[in-house]
Every structure is written in structure tokens, then in C-alpha cells.
Amino acid sequence: MKITFDVNGRRTEADDVWEGESLLYVLRERVGLPGSKNACEQGECGSCTIYLDGDPVCACLVAAGQVQGREVRTVEGLADGDTLDPVQQAFVDAGAVQCGFCTPGLLVQTHDLLERQAQPGDAEIREALSGNLCRCTGYEKIMDAVRLAAARKAEAASNRVPVRPERFTGS
């Protein structure tokens, strides 16, 4: 079957889609967006987290046919051209990336968290990221990155000097 949907603001068509195919497969294999990662294929790991009509969901659990006419935003759609989203920049600066496989899902999920809750506490961050697994277990740096992104967004909002990452990375 053929499906037409919006990905990162661009009308996109995918043809010869199998009826039981996941949105994740369509994104990675048919429309050239491999940023969303394919790991568990059962919604356990969060590596394929994308926005579907504004809600973060696991792309592996969305049937391709369900996105006909819908809006999808992937990790590739977070940056503004060459300028990384503050969440992405914070992950880079805090060193919150080891093998990097879980990173795209964490970026989208963190992006959503900070849209809904600009200054989350640690418990809220852990709750929001509870469906994103990092098998390198680099969770402390990930927590640092989320706090850093939140602080920078707050700074940007109040137009003060950017917060330096050293303040947040501990050691």
C-alpha cells in the first residue's frame, strides 16, 4: 500500500508498504531517516521515540498505515538547519553519549519533557525517561544533559549569559 504523511514538516510518500509494517521500518528503510533506532521492536527501549501528532511514541509500535495524513517529527527534525536544538547541544556538551544508540530516542523524549515542564526535578526527569534504556548505563551524564538543557533554555528565556556545562557535569 501507499502512505502519505508529513515528516519533519515535509509531505512524504512511501510506496510498496507492507500492511503489517511499522512506522519505524518506513522511516528507516523507505524514506531515508535512520535516526530513529531499531532495537527491541516491542516498545521496551525507547530508541525509536518520535513525535506522532505532537505526542512522543515508539515508532516500532505504530502501524505504517496509521500515519496516513498524520504529522511525524523525528530526531532529524529537532535541529534548526545546522543549529542543534538546545537538548542536542546539551547532550554533546555533557558527554551524555557513549555508544549513541539510545541517544535519538532520549533526545526526542527529553525535548518533549522540556516543552511540557521547563524546570523538571530529578524525579520528573527519571519518570519521563523511564521508557528509554541506555545499555551503556550512562544515566548520570544523561541526567546532567537534561538539567543542562533545562538550565540553558531558562537562561535563554531570561536572556542572561549561557550556563557553562562544567557546572553540571560534576567531576
Binding site: 503489517g20 516498545g43 512522543p56 515508539c58 498505515g65
Partner: protein, 295 residues
Amino acid sequence: MEFLRPATWDEALAAKAEYPTAVPIAGGTDVMVELNFDRHRPVALIDLNRIPELHDWETGADGVVRLGASVPYARIIGHLSDRLPGLSLAARTVGSPQIRNRGSVGGNLGAASPAGDSHPALLASGCLVEAASADRGPRMIPIDEFFLGVKRNALEPDELILAVHIPSATGPQQFAKIGTRNAMVIAVCSFGMALHPEAGSVRTGIGSAAPTPRRAGAAEEFIAAELADTGMWASRGELAAATAKRFGELVAEAASPIDDVRGSAAYRRHALSVLARRTLTWTWDEYRAAGRAAA
């Protein structure tokens, strides 16, 4: 395989009548796992995401919430925790935020897993499941008659779930679940309970400790009699520790758990007795506090 996209409820029922073995898909959190791992190749998928009434809820004049089958858990938590506290507590334990943005009570009921997180709360609430078919129209299935066996429910092959009719809470409700962590856990066992002061009754739901979710009838009768005999609904007196303990024992006796990879039968029984004792104490303490606040 076919992918059917009904735009209306009537079209969905017509599709299910034409393809009785077709699998309805809403949030996909169960269905897509089966497809991704090639465990199941249905003749067709029926996408329910385009049918507005499945995603809505409304509260009637009688206080009954008509919850559309596809309303995601995240919406229940965000909008209905005052009216449906037990179900909202259970919803908070479902999967992860991503799963709660897609998964819904209709899917939980359709899958009818003994471990479904919403089931104990639904049993404790005394809700009705509204199912319908193209040929016979709608019908109401009491939740007590809905679960028939492991992953088997009372739906006919041509039926779909439209909504669940859940009475608004008239007293405190609780839900507790055992797992290895707070998120992404299939329950080792779970327990839901609701005080119904207006009826002088207590309802329960046991999860993941029997072939189906089930109530603990003897425990419900015991505690209702205790509260009635001692005039406690009116006096809002302190619950005796021995009463709570006995309630827990009766709940454990109502289960028929198995040993499996998530836990042993003996552990499940013991854990249930503890969950039941705790949740009874929590709900009763909340009932007492509400009385003091009103005084």
C-alpha cells in the same frame, strides 16, 4: 494482509463483520509486538485511530464516566484522576510515557491478559463494557462476566469495544503492583480496591495471579460485614490490624497463581496478602481523613 481504515464506528463494525478474524489496532502496543516478531499474521488490521468517539469521554448526570475504548492512559491520568482514581493509579504504572501516550483500556480489555494493569481497577469499580456488532447492535457486558480465560474475553468475533462505563468514585480507591522496577514492568501480581461507602461495599481486583483477573469475593464479604457490624462506615473508626491482616489472607486465598519467570506462586500469594492489607489500610485511612475534613 489487508489494512482497513474505517472512518466511522459503523464502518469499523462492518469491517469486523466481514473479517471476523481481523485484528483491531488502536495504540498498537500489543498488536505491533505480535507483528514485529512474526508471531501472528492476521488476515487484516482494522485501524481504529480515525474514529472520534473512541477517543472521547463524558460524565453522565449519574456520575458514570463513559470512557472511549481508545482514550490513551496519559489522558486518563491527566483528566480523570479525580473521578477515576483507581484506574488512574493503575494507568500510571503502565509501561512508559511513550506507551501511555498510545495504550488504552480498550486494548487492555481486548487482549484480556491476566496481567493487564487496568483490569484490577475496572473490577473494583464495577464497570460495564460496551461492545457492539453490525448485526446485533450494542450490548453491555458487566466487567465480572468479561474475562473468560487466559487472554480470552466475552467478545464475539464480530464485536468491537466502543467504551467502558465506569462509575465515578464515591470513596477512596487504590492500586498496587509488584515488579522489578517502577516502569516497563509486566505485573508479578497486582491489586486494586475501591470503597463504595454509599453501598456499604468494598470491591477488589486481583491481577496476574490467576488465569483471569478476578475479584476476591470472600475478602469483600468479610470486610463489608466487619465494617457494617462495627458501624464503621458512620463512625469512621480505626481499622483493627487483625482485620486488615485477615482481609489480606482472604485475598491471597482467592488467587490461583502459577510459578513462572516473573515469580513463584508462593511469592505471588504472599505479595497479594501484603498489597491487600496495605491498600485496605490506605483507603480506610483516606476515608477517615475525609470524614475529619468534612467535620
